[in-house]
């Protein structure tokens, strides 16, 4: 009898130590969105890896996700916004379904909901607008070469100015920092501070909101051999083109575009528009050029 009691006590101890050993109901596996947990008095932001106790509460925000693992190792996912009690979630963690039950469910479900679907849920269009608040109209890095020394940097911004334009070298040393209320800045690369730089990084920031900034863009001076090649090709048309009229600049823009010198083409288009502000064709040609080369995205 004594032996039996001892065995019973040992079993009780083992079970209770296992039960109390699980000092959490869930752990957070993955978290998306601004979800909160109430543990004790205050609400705290949910962190991945956090242990949730039975008495805790959860607040799931809109378009959020919370992946949890129960102390038994079973996962549970919350995708709907709202408040949840951890104890209620723990009660939902079932003992699992047998293969046979799953098979029955599968057979019964396969010809019901699957076949009845709305057929117009998808559209042939997209929501546009990049994550950057400021979009600089400079080409992608692989087309960032420049032949001339004049760069006209234009940008579009969600907020208002003033803006800070920063030009850096490859080692992140600042070469130029200019402040402007406009959405455009002209830079002369023949200035001594740019003389020894083959590649320059450009970034535009809002002065008011430091977080509002553009992607970093590259401006790359042509290598001497390439410079010579372009100079020779350009020489063939400069005898007829003098860069003095708007039309001449339009022709030059075409030449630069053909040679993938998009930054020079931008400068030429800008000059053409400046020379003939009343002629809408130059502006239209410029817009088409920007869209054609994906420097500017079409607004939908």
């Amino acid at each position: 009898m004594k032996k039996g009691n001892l065995l019973l006590a040992m079993c009780f101890l083992a079970v209770s130590s296992w039960t109390f050993g699980q000092d959490y109901a869930f752990k957070v596996l993955a978290n998306k969105g601004s979800n909160e947990v109430k543990s004790g008095d205050g609400w705290l932001a949910v962190k991945t890896g956090t242990s949730l106790k039975t008495g805790d509460e959860l607040k799931i925000s809109e378009n959020a996700y919370l992946g949890l693992v129960h102390s038994s190792g079973k996962p549970i996912e919350i995708k709907q916004a709202g408040s949840y009690k951890v104890a209620d979630l723990a009660a939902k963690v079932s003992g699992g379904t047998s293969v046979l039950n799953k098979y029955t469910d599968f057979i019964l479900s396969s010809n019901s909901a699957e076949a009845k679907k709305n057929r117009l849920s998808a559209t042939g269009a997209v929501h546009r607008g990049g994550p950057e608040d400021i979009t600089v109209f400079l080409p992608e890095n692989q087309y960032s070469s420049i032949y001339n020394n004049t760069v006209i940097i234009n940008w579009d911004a969600k907020g208002t100015g003033p803006y800070v334009v920063t030009l850096k070298n490859m080692f992140e040393d600042e070469l130029l920092k200019a402040e402007t209320p406009e959405k455009s800045l002209q830079v002369n690369l023949s200035e001594p501070k740019f003389a020894n730089e083959a590649a320059i990084l450009v970034e535009v920031k809002s002065k008011v909101d430091g977080k509002s900034k553009s992607e970093q863009h590259l401006i790359k001076k042509l290598a001497p051999a390439e410079q010579e090649r372009v100079k020779k090709a350009l020489g063939e048309i400069t005898s007829q083109v003098s860069e003095e009229s708007a039309l001449d600049n339009l022709i030059l823009a075409g030449f630069y575009e053909q040679n993938k010198l998009f930054i020079d083409a931008i400068t030429a288009y800008e000059k053409a528009i400046k020379m003939s502000p009343d002629v809408p064709s130059y502006k239209e040609a410029y817009d088409e050029f920007l869209l054609r080369n994906k420097i500017k995205l079409e607004k939908r």
């Binding site: 752990k27 596996l29 993955a30 978290n31 998306k32 932001a45 962190k47 991945t48 890896g49 956090t50 809109e62 378009n63 996700y65 992946g67 693992v69 038994s72 190792g73 079973k74 996962p75 549970i76 996912e77 995708k79 709907q80 699992g96 379904t97 293969v99 799953k102 098979y103 599968f106 849920s121 890095n141 692989q142 490859m170 080692f171 992140e172 590649a199 590259l218 790359k220």
Partner: protein, 441 residues
């Protein structure tokens, strides 16, 4: 009775001969009219039903932590690594290449070279961590490629030496039918070990496991299988669904819930994680979309967990999660067993042989019922075999590949009829009628 066994053997051989002939004829694509169907079903396996819908609910593997590097530049990945390293994980895997693809080392084709400081930061972070496994890529050299060698990889592409010199390198190639990286990728299996020019190279997941638990990994490698089926258990699928009416609908690509810890690109840097979860565990850094919920198809695979087992569907799993599933499989010693090639033939032969014996018996004793009974037997066999294949996979992780047996079960009825007709015709032609036989009477 002896005659029945011989007859059965002859018909069984005829069934196999017909199956072999049919298989060769379809290789010539003579039945091009059926191409759409065969194309749609070419990737389908019966066991996909088991994976997709019927397996036991998996338990989360809390030893594996996936960290998304999204679109972060190298310098920020370096920061991620520094943070992770402080938390003392046992192994860190990086599922990203840090070189110039194709060896095109100019800033036009390889703009990542421009950020020299970022590159140095990353190299330093890898060196300081000291326990990093970096992915490499099995490739064909030009000569092997020109010779149109199939599945022969005699070259390997590593990340740049400033990174790879301070890490263990292991190939991330997975077995798919894809011709190039952006192609449609269906992954069921992987190759644990590959010898490139005399040097053994390990798969990414195998190398991670080797650093985490060498005993279990050696046990896995001792199976000595050239190709291993991945025993998928779960996914990491976080969606970005803003329309409320869609939230109530099933929009996921798999039926399986989250299986591993997952941390988004910015969460680590913002301190939105608890450091304790990393200690002595496995961290694999890779791509889970630009952010959690990104609907990108970059590095996304079709796996047998996909709800749609055949036809067009959305890919369901990031490559990073495929590697994590392999790691979990090795550490849990939860492998998929398969039939040997000869076993498939023996089972197919025996099923065919005894079906023919049964048919002969029915033909002799119940000739009027032969047609109806033979069709019913064939249908029952096909259903039974299909059910058995699915059940053994779902319940016992045993891949009972009985495609050959299914083939012979489908052909045995028609072949029996053809054989008997030909046999009867030959007997009729080469046997003299009773009236033509001279007798002494």
């Amino acid at each position: 009775m002896k005659n029945i066994w011989l007859q059965s053997l002859a018909i069984t051989l005829f069934v196999f001969l017909t199956l072999w002939g049919a298989s060769n004829i379809t290789d010539f694509k003579l039945f091009s009219a059926f191409d759409p169907i065969s194309q749609a079903l070419s990737d389908f396996e019966l066991t996909d039903y088991a994976f997709s819908n019927l397996r036991h609910d998996p338990l989360v593997d809390q030893r594996i932590i996936l960290v998304n590097f999204g679109d972060l530049p190298r310098r920020e990945v370096a920061q991620q690594l520094q943070i992770i390293s402080q938390y003392k994980p046992r192994v860190i895997g990086i599922d990203g290449y840090y070189n110039c693809e194709g060896g095109l080392r100019d800033t036009v084709n390889c703009p990542q070279l421009i950020d020299t400081l970022g590159n140095l930061m990353l190299a330093n972070a890898i060196e300081q961590a000291g326990n990093v496994v970096l992915v490499s890529k099995l490739l064909q050299s030009d000569s092997a490629s020109n010779a149109e060698a199939i599945d022969l990889y005699d070259s390997i592409e590593y990340s740049d030496p400033i990174f790879s010199d301070h890490a263990r390198n292991a190939y991330a190639n997975l077995v798919t039918g894809a011709v190039y990286q952006e192609d449609v990728k269906l992954c069921r299996s992987f190759i644990p070990k590959y010898t490139v020019r005399g040097k053994d190279e390990y798969a990414f997941a195998v190398q991670i496991c080797m650093l985490y638990d060498s005993a279990k990994t050696k046990k896995f490698l001792a199976r000595n299988k050239e190709e291993e089926v991945i025993n998928y258990h779960g996914n990491v699928e976080i969606q970005d669904i803003r329309l409320k009416n869609l939230k109530r609908k099933s929009t996921t690509t798999t039926n399986y819930p989250i299986m591993f810890y997952a941390i988004d690109a910015n969460q680590l840097m913002n301190g939105e994680v608890l450091p304790e979860m990393f200690k002595d565990n496995i961290v694999i850094v890779g791509f889970l979309g630009a952010y959690f919920g990104d609907a990108t198809w970059i590095d996304k695979y079709f796996t047998p967990l996909n709800k749609k087992v055949a036809g067009r569907a959305n890919p369901d799993m990031f490559g990073l999660v495929v590697h994590a599933n392999i790691v979990a499989m090795i550490l849990n010693e939860d492998y998929v067993s398969e039939l040997a090639e000869w076993e498939k033939y023996v089972i197919g032969f025996l099923v065919c042989f005894f079906t023919v014996v049964l048919f002969i018996e029915i033909d002799l004793k119940l000739p009027a019922w032969f047609d109806a009974l033979s069709v019913l037997i064939q249908l029952a066999q096909i259903l039974l075999i299909s059910g058995l294949v699915v059940y053994t996979y779902a319940g016992y992780s045993f891949k009972l590949d009985l495609a050959l047996t299914l083939g012979v079960a489908a052909l045995v009825g028609p072949c029996y009829d053809i054989y008997k007709s030909v046999q009867n015709e030959l007997i009729r032609r080469f046997t003299k009628p009773k009236s033509g036989v001279l007798t002494n009477n």
